[in-house]
């Protein structure tokens, strides 16, 4: 009897561990993650094409159709005009403040993550070249 209970307990423990296994995920999980990601990319495109992000009605996409000419694969890099190595997010904030005449976003703001997700999504497949000018 005790043996039986112990065996059941072991089996349950194994099953529990397996259900938490880091490498175990299903197609359904993948679909969910893709959906979550795409929703942020779409939010990013919404912001990128919106005249409401800054104060003067200018949208990021006015100069960067499909987020082109943003070369996210080259960041972090030495931004010669600022004289230091910066992340893409800092350049996004530069654009928000200058051409869009708006306020910078916190570097971990959900809108910032969404903008970055959209920019990188439009650039998918391009090899990483940090530091490239």
């Amino acid at each position: 009897m005790n043996k039986k209970i112990a065996a059941l307990a072991v089996a349950a423990a194994v099953a529990f561990v397996v259900s938490l296994g880091a490498d175990e995920f299903t197609k359904k999980d993948q679909e969910r993650w893709e959906k979550e990601y795409q929703s942020v990319v779409q939010k990013g495109r919404g912001l990128f094409t919106s005249g409401a992000l800054g104060t003067n009605g200018v949208a990021c996409a006015q100069c960067h159709p499909n987020a082109a000419n943003t070369h996210p694969e080259t960041y972090p890099k030495f931004q010669k005009q600022l004289g230091r190595v910066i992340a893409l997010r800092e350049m996004i904030n530069w654009c928000l403040q200058q051409p869009l005449e708006g306020k910078p976003l916190a570097l971990d703001a959900p809108d910032m993550i969404a903008l970055e997700a959209y920019i990188l999504h439009e650039r998918r497949g391009v090899k990483l070249e940090p530091g490239k000018h």
Partner: protein
């Protein structure tokens, strides 16, 4: 070496004076013929995108571009015979924008010819623009050259008339360059019939200069660097010995040769656009002939906007691009190769790193 050096020097001297006075993007077009009495020049300003914010406020950056272009055009020596505005005066076709832009253009001395851009058109289908600037398409003759101005930014009737619940939304949908809800530009059956009738009256040895807003060639459909009936329009131009198409819309240096037709794009006064080959997710065709302009430095507000000084010698154009914060460029018809070519950079060995776009 350069037969137009004296003119260019005069011109650049005035440009320098204009720049010193805190002003300067447009295009000067000079047509030079064997008989110097027939030589003439004209200025070309394009893509100002004057953008209304609210009340009396407009986007300062774009205002400055047009103000500078107009001021510099007025300082040109020799004085151009006329000036062309190449379309997209406003951003969303609003009366406020067209009025504000027209007010700036009214400072130009001399005759102004205007080309319709999609940003001028899709709010009220060009009605207010027409009140200010006249017909949507027309032709005229000047000192032995036949000029044609086309409205090349029309599209399918169904898209224009049936698809959108409001004129404002229609304008917004067409204003987004990369908007998948947009629609391809075209000259259309009616205007092509007019063009055919117009050209039937012209001797085929007469040099032809065509102004359009969109390229009249098929480059990249995703951003409407494209005219859907370009092949049909080109066929109408084909019987002429010398044809030059000058277009705006693309906000960048482009040039191409298709048969007898030379294509040249002009700079915007507002902002530059990336070359379509820098968009990683799309198929596209760009003229292999084009040596790209330098990548824009966003920290210089007027960088990669500019103006052109254009000669037409024996009916072919030569564009002198004056580029702020960048080395000037010359793209000219090369009789030896039968194509427009950059005078300094066409040889692949002569190209410089900033011309690499990615």
């Amino acid at each position: 070496m350069n037969p137009f050096q004296p003119n260019r020097r005069d011109f650049l001297r005035s440009a320098a004076a204009a720049a010193a006075a805190g002003i300067a993007p447009m295009s000067l077009v000079k047509l030079a013929f064997a008989d110097p009495a027939l030589d003439f020049s004209f200025g070309y300003i394009s893509d100002a995108h004057i953008q209304h914010i609210s009340g009396t406020k407009f986007v300062r950056n774009w205002d400055r571009g047009l103000i500078r272009a107009v001021a510099e055009t007025n300082m040109l020596t020799p004085k151009p015979d006329f000036v062309v505005f190449g379309g997209d005066l406003g951003q969303l076709g609003m009366k406020q924008e067209l009025d504000h832009g027209a007010e700036m253009l009214s400072k130009l001395r001399g005759k102004l010819y205007c080309v319709m851009g999609e940003h001028d058109y899709y709010l009220d289908l060009g009605e207010y623009w027409s009140k200010l600037f006249g017909p949507h398409y027309y032709s005229f003759d000047h000192k032995g050259v036949h000029f044609v101005v086309l409205n090349s930014i029309l599209t399918f009737d169904d898209w224009t008339f049936n698809r959108w619940p409001s004129a404002e939304q229609r304008m917004l949908e067409m204003a987004g360059l990369d908007n998948p809800n947009g629609s391809p530009f075209m000259v259309g059956d009616k205007q092509r019939a007019w063009l055919k009738a117009d050209l039937d009256k012209i001797d085929k040895s007469t040099p032809l200069v065509v102004f359009s807003h969109s390229p009249l060639q098929k480059l990249y459909k995703g951003w409407n660097f494209w005219t859907d009936d370009a092949d049909e329009v080109q066929a109408l131009l084909a019987p002429f010995a010398k044809v030059n198409v000058i277009y705006g819309h693309v906000h960048q240096i482009q040039y191409n040769q298709i048969g007898n037709i030379s294509f040249n794009a002009v700079m915007a006064t507002a902002w530059p656009w990336p070359y379509p080959n820098t968009y990683a997710q799309a198929e596209h065709t760009m003229p292999v002939l084009t040596v790209p302009m330098n990548r824009a430095d966003p920290f210089f507000e007027r960088d990669a906007t500019g103006w052109q000084f254009i000669d037409v010698q024996t009916g072919r154009v030569k564009l002198e691009y004056n580029l702020y914060n960048n080395t000037n460029r010359t793209v000219a018809w090369n009789p030896a190769s039968g194509k427009p070519e950059d005078r300094a950079f066409q040889d692949p060995a002569k190209r410089i790193p900033p011309q690499v776009h990615y």
